[in-house]
């Protein structure tokens, strides 16, 4: 109730409560922040010209674009896979439950960096990717691993598969948050299990799923920097390559850090849109949108 409301005759007129410690706190915060920024600006060890020179360097920008692409692709693949895993884990089929549980345990139980290196060096373990009938000589497809799985693909696979394990638990929590009466009502109308999941349960689960998935997306954007170990030309790898030549390590870390911060800030916008989209019908105050989400909308 911080909004200023118009005063009516006879309303209580009271002196507002004072908050002196807020003013003190703000002053201290300003002082500390200022001192920190000044220490960076004035530091003779940091070459500011190098920072500004590389901030909009085409190589850096290309790296940043690739980072965004990997983040988006990995999150899309991970979310689809996670939904499948979550449904499997909640299934009454014991085999599906076992597969999902084992997958989640395995990919959460080993370090992401290790998984990235594994996919990057897959060609050493399996020099050829062969598709055929096992234990016979029938072969439909046989290619060297390195030509099928580039370092980009290896990185994307590693990040997607790992993220799917975490996201699966988020999706599962979302599904469990939906009232059981919803699935019962769907059943009583003759809807099958998968239809109920897709049209009734998941759309409602999205409200619970989206905020933590926003978290995961931010985390993913930063995790792409781990792909440096298998030489995917994303932002951190590029910054690292440049600094290994001009030896301006700190300056290029500042450049990379700046772009990570900018990209993560921008990533917050679609989240707000999605939260509104899937929040429809859940707050009693929004007016019915006739023609938009009403008679003509909805059924895809």
């Amino acid at each position: 109730m911080s909004k200023q409301e118009a005063k009516h005759d006879g309303d209580i007129v009271a002196k507002p409560l004072r908050h002196p410690w807020r003013v003190v706190g703000a002053a201290v915060l300003l002082l500390v922040t200022g001192a920190f920024i000044w220490s960076l600006v004035a530091a003779p060890t940091i070459n500011h010209e190098v920072i500004f020179k590389y901030l909009f360097d085409p190589m850096i920008l290309q790296g940043a674009v690739l980072t965004v692409w990997i983040t988006i692709l990995a999150m899309v693949i991970a979310t689809l896979l996670a939904t499948l895993l979550a449904v499997m884990k909640l299934s009454e089929n014991p085999l599906l439950r076992f597969i999902a549980t084992a997958y989640i345990e395995f990919f959460r139980g080993t370090p992401l960096l290790l998984q990235i290196v594994f996919w990057g060096y897959l060609g050493i373990i399996y020099p050829h990717i062969v598709l055929g009938l096992p234990f016979t000589s029938v072969v439909w497809f046989d290619q060297p691993t390195a030509t099928v799985i580039s370092s980009f693909a290896a990185g994307l696979i590693a990040l997607s598969l790992n993220e799917a394990a975490y996201a699966a638990e988020i999706v599962r929590a979302g599904i469990l948050s939906v009232d059981k009466g919803q699935a019962e009502a769907a059943k009583s109308l003759g809807m099958g299990g998968w239809y109920t999941m897709r049209r009734i349960v998941l759309p409602q689960a999205m409200r619970v799923i989206i905020p933590p998935m926003g978290n995961e997306t931010i985390s993913m954007l930063k995790s792409t920097s781990l792909l440096q170990v298998i030489a995917v030309a994303e932002l951190y790898t590029v910054a690292n390559q440049i600094s290994s030549q001009n030896l301006a390590q700190i300056e290029l870390l500042v450049v990379a850090g700046f772009w990570y911060l900018v990209m993560n800030t921008i990533l917050g916008f679609p989240q707000r849109y999605l939260e509104r989209r899937f929040g429809r019908g859940f707050d009693g105050h929004s007016a019915p949108s006739i023609g938009k989400g009403g008679l003509n909308g909805g059924h895809v």
């Binding site: 003759g190 239809y195 019908g281 019915p288 989400g293 909805g298 059924h299």
Partner: protein, 258 residues
Amino acid sequence: MADMSKNPMVRAEGVRKRFGSNEVLKSISLEVAQGEVLVLLGPSGSGKSTFLRCINHLETINGGRIYVNEDLIGYREVHGELHEMHPKAIAAQRRNIGMVFQRFNLFPHLTAVENITEAPIGIAGVTKAEAQERAQKLLQLVGLADKADHYPSQLSGGQQQRVAIARALAMEPSLMLFDEPTSALDPELVGDVLEVMKNLAKSGMTMIVVTHEIGFAREVADTVVFMDGGVVVEAGKPADVLDNPQHERTKAFLRSVL
């Protein structure tokens, strides 16, 4: 009104149901004729809601048989042996049986009209235009034609329950189950919902209603069944069961609710 010349709409034979070691239905047998309105009365925990949920296989029964339209619910019987049914076949059986819940269970992310058209379009394969036309008629029937584009959260409890009835009717079921449809409503909203149910009964719909509304039972029911402790204590015409109960348990229950 009930038509006894045809096959019964519902036939329950010795239905038993256990939750763990707790036997909630102890051999329930009853028949509901086409067009009949049967009201199930009984104290809470008597098993009446459980029995209702067995009829559309929301609960699996442990013994006996339930037939709807001479169709065995939940199982296939081959040479005297029961086989579990595929979920798809069970879903198909449920399309013929509408259900209205105590807590409405409308889909909160869909508007009133979308709640009604979802199953006809997605499951029964009705075209969108036809489903929407039918939904408008159903909304008119329940007196909510002007609320088509409201979300459930924008409707009162009584309005939500009437949309829920319209939603169940949209699949054109031949049997309607009502599980305490007015128990979660504020007293002043109960009348509108009962009115819709009365009109539905007049139109010849076969209905099984679990309720505590004795007035509704007296006015609308063809048969009143009183259940207690998982058994049918007594059944008969409303005038007989409600005004001249034979069993002590029925008398005690009626004294407590009237």
